[in-house]
């Protein structure tokens, strides 16, 4: 138990990195996922094909493989570099992996949301002469996004948990820090585990509650 208090600043720092990973990947994934969803409902078969292929490939690949590919493949072999600092570079590579992966799930959630928008909305938009892009941007997506806030919350919670996989390429977020602490405090494995578990509960449970509340608050009244 003492170990937990002694290492408290380290643990806090690790969770701060987890939060930063989540926010950065979440934002990128939201943008990329929305673009992908737009592609998957577009009038061009070739765009639809690219979107569908992306989602099906990424969704069926283990995230660990994606992260390892980003770290070792892009980072070491192809010399993709975001920073001269090695740890910052791996941080960004893991953000790329996490957002590329999460974008597929964001896309599917938004696409399901598009399906919840009543037919008449899109028909009316077409009737007043809006183009596909205007229709999507002004009429359909705002309603679709508000319909899928709860599922997007699930995706975000999954992302918070998935950031731990950045440990595979040595990003010192919560799970890797926990492993390091296990090694240095072999006698305090149980308290350290429950400390980290509590940290994740503090991150995931309120996120779930917040998104449930938001989804009710922002639901489109029909």
């Amino acid at each position: 138990m003492q170990a937990l208090f002694d290492e408290f600043p380290v643990i806090l720092g690790a969770f701060w990195l987890t939060i930063r990973l989540t926010l950065a990947s979440g934002l990128l994934a939201l943008v990329l996922g929305t673009i992908l969803a737009g592609m998957r409902v577009s009038p061009l078969p070739v765009l639809r094909g690219i979107g569908t292929a992306y989602v099906n490939i990424v969704r069926n690949t283990p995230l660990t493989l994606v992260i390892v590919f980003c770290g070792l493949g892009l980072g070491l072999v192809l010399d993709v570099s975001f920073s001269t600092s090695l740890s910052t570079n791996y941080l960004w590579l893991s953000i790329i992996g996490l957002s590329a992966y999460t974008a597929a799930f964001v896309c599917e959630a938004i696409r399901a949301g598009i399906n919840t928008v009543p037919l008449g909305q899109a028909e009316a938009a077409r009737a007043i002469g809006l183009t596909f892009f205007q229709n999507l941007r002004l009429i359909v997506l705002p309603q679709a996004l508000r319909a899928v806030i709860a599922p997007l919350g699930s995706v975000l919670i999954a992302l918070i948990k998935n950031t731990t996989i950045a440990a595979a390429i040595g990003v010192g977020e919560a799970s890797l820090t926990m492993k390091t602490l296990f090694e240095s405090h072999g006698d305090a494995v149980v308290p350290i585990f429950f400390g980290f578990a509590l940290g994740f509960l503090i991150l995931t449970l309120p996120t779930g509650l917040l998104f449930t509340w938001l989804s009710k608050r922002l639901a489109v009244v029909r």
Partner: protein, 312 residues
């Protein structure tokens, strides 16, 4: 089957499920067709440019050299290096699935119990293991097993334990949703004819619920299979280990190896996913249940799309 029984089923379905996607744009006229053709050409050109940039980048780093790729044409490479990893991945997934499914039924039904002393602990276990990341569970089993209980924990055991606890808890939610999705009249009628609570569950709710929950359970197995790759982080000799450690140490070909391994994962998961979709359609049609198929927790399934996959 007489047409008399088939008739109401047809009317129950909405007259025609409209193609919801194409409602965003009109059937293209001559100008729109022209514009679409031009845009298609532009998209194809941009895509080709992207592929070209990637290929030159790979070539620059000598990643297209034949000796990095030819190992995958050799039978001994597959037999000695890749297939053992695949076998370990599949056996970890199979063992975990075989334990996780009963785990899910026990805790899912437990959460529906009338007794608070069963319901509350079952709920706490399920919520706890769903809320924390699988990887810290695997680390905890790995280090906790030896530090606390003095056991030698193999990576296989750590991975399977983590997978069972996490996926079992998600399956518990699916089981609960499946049973709750059955119209109340079913259990009310069963109770009215004098069945006990246990009998209602065993004879009325579970048989119908299983049909409703089967697609989501199989979709969750895709997640389970994908998550076996976490074993890589604790040195479990799985398929990802073959692709990211064993092959590169032999042929120095991390990029080709990871790509080939990814294709293997994708094919396996597409097959399991296809089974889930098939079951979803069957379950939707099934007359053995009064419930509609349930979606995996957190997932949204577009009505009538038949596409079912879990959020992970």
């Amino acid at each position: 089957m007489s047409t008399l029984t088939a008739e109401p089923r047809k009317t129950r379905k909405r007259a025609s499920v409209p193609d919801r996607v194409s409602v965003l744009y009109d059937a293209p006229g001559p100008r729109a067709r022209m514009r679409n053709t031009v845009l298609t050409v532009v998209v194809v050109l941009v895509a080709l440019l992207a592929v070209y940039v990637m290929v030159t980048k790979l070539d620059e780093k000598n990643q297209l050299n034949a000796d990095l790729w030819t190992p995958f044409l050799r039978g001994d490479v597959w037999i000695n290096l890749i297939l053992p990893g695949l076998f370990n991945t599949l056996s970890a997934a199979a063992v975990a699935a075989l334990i996780a499914v009963p785990f899910g039924f026990v805790f899912g039904i437990g959460r529906l119990s009338d007794h608070a002393w069963i319901r509350v602990p079952a709920g706490a276990v399920v919520e706890f293991f769903r809320a924390i990341p699988l990887l810290i569970m695997i680390f905890a089993v790995m280090y906790g097993g030896s530090a606390v209980f003095g056991l030698t924990v193999t990576p296989f055991m750590a991975v399977v334990t983590g997978l069972v606890l996490y996926n079992g808890s998600v399956l518990a939610e699916i089981v609960r949703a499946g049973i709750l999705s059955i119209p109340r009249g079913q259990s009310e009628a069963a109770l009215a004819i004098g069945l006990r609570k246990g009998q209602v569950m065993r004879m009325i709710l579970l048989p119908q619920g299983v049909t409703a929950m089967m697609p989501a359970i199989v979709a969750q197995l895709v997640v389970l299979l994908k998550d076996t790759a976490l074993g890589f982080i604790v040195s479990f000799e799985d398929l990802l280990n073959a692709g990211a450690r064993v092959l590169p140490s032999n042929f120095n070909n991390i990029i080709p190896a990871v790509i080939v391994i990814a294709i293997v994962y994708i094919i396996i998961n597409l097959i399991v996913g296809a089974i889930a979709t098939l079951l979803e359609r069957r379950s939707r049609r099934s007359r053995k249940t009064s419930a509609q198929p349930v979606a995996p927790p957190g997932a949204v399934v577009a009505p009538g799309s038949g596409d079912i996959s879990a959020v992970d």
